[in-house]
């Protein structure tokens, strides 16, 4: 299975993320990072309710899986909300924006690798191969190039 559709969806999500970060940081500049994040979560709650009412059939659950969610599944929003506070503290440290982005990326990839390798969190265990490391090295190297030569505005 090539899973090209899933890869394309994830690429699209990454593109959306640029817009999200840009909008939220404009709101954060006018207010505060925490307040901006609160607004974004409020708007997100409302929009997702609208979608649950109208379009539940898009992006269905996996057919094979159970319908129960472990308690920590619902705690995802906590980690997301904390990210804003932690990341903005890091940006305000001597590390700066580029350094924060780069290290955050490293933290994210490393944690993802460990989690996949050991099948943590009830997701499929995926043994990593040499090809995974080659593609990860290429993507991370490319990302670091892009982060470090970002226009400072």
């Amino acid at each position: 299975m090539k899973q090209s559709r899933e890869v394309l969806l994830a690429l699209l999500a990454g593109m959306l993320l640029v817009g999200i970060v840009s909008f939220n940081s404009q709101l954060a500049k006018a207010t505060t990072p925490l307040f901006a994040s609160w607004v974004a979560h409020g708007v997100g709650t409302l929009v997702s309710i609208l979608f649950l009412l109208g379009f539940l059939h898009f992006f269905p659950p996996l057919k094979t899986s159970t319908k129960t969610v472990p308690w920590w599944g619902y705690a995802g929003g906590l980690a997301g909300a904390m990210t804003v506070a932690v990341a903005s503290m890091a940006v305000n440290s001597p590390l700066g924006l580029a350094g924060t982005l780069a290290l955050s990326l490293v933290g994210q990839i490393s944690f993802s690798l460990v989690s996949d390798q050991f099948g943590w969190f009830g997701l499929l265990k995926r043994k990593l191969t040499i090809h995974d490391f080659i593609s990860i090295s290429l993507v991370v190297t490319g990302s670091l190039f892009i982060i470090y030569f970002q226009a400072r505005s």
């Binding site: 090539k2 899933e6 993320l17 709650t45 649950l52 090809h131």
Partner: protein, 141 residues
């Protein structure tokens, strides 16, 4: 400096935890339910935090352009797509593809403000990323 380093790495781990947990909800209940729970729980948590810190700055809210409020709309779709993809593609592959899309779009949108040498170096970065994605797609296990 070292505090900043730790905070930055922790923020990356929190991002992973957030997406994995949402993916787990998406796996059982569907992606838009995952998006709903993510935003609702975050909203409650941030409401408490802002109340305690007296951080509700309504008076500044109108200083932002109207479209700055669209972040949450895009965020709904972002969490939904991410929660749909993670159980199917795995945590690392999803993260790599999301980062690739983010980096590519970032270069595209900011190309005008760039000096030519920096833009070329960034395009080199995009080439690395494309090579990585193509490599991953060619060597499926």
């Amino acid at each position: 400096m070292s505090t900043g380093i730790i905070l930055a790495i922790v923020s990356g781990i929190l991002i992973s935890l957030n997406r994995i947990a949402n993916g787990r909800v998406g796996l059982a209940l569907g992606a838009f339910k995952a998006s709903y729970w993510n935003h609702l729980v975050g909203l409650v948590f941030l409401s408490v935090l802002l109340l305690v810190m007296q951080g509700f700055v309504w008076e500044h809210a109108s200083h932002a352009p109207w479209y700055a409020y669209l972040g949450g709309v895009l965020g709904t779709f972002f969490v939904a797509i991410n929660s749909y993809v993670i159980p199917r593609l795995g945590v690392t592959k999803t993260a790599l593809a999301v980062i690739s899309g983010q980096m590519g779009m970032g270069v595209l949108l900011h190309a005008e403000q760039q000096s030519l040498p920096h833009l070329l170096l960034q395009c080199l970065g995009v080439a690395f990323i494309l090579a990585g994605i193509i490599w991953a797609q060619r060597h499926k296990t």
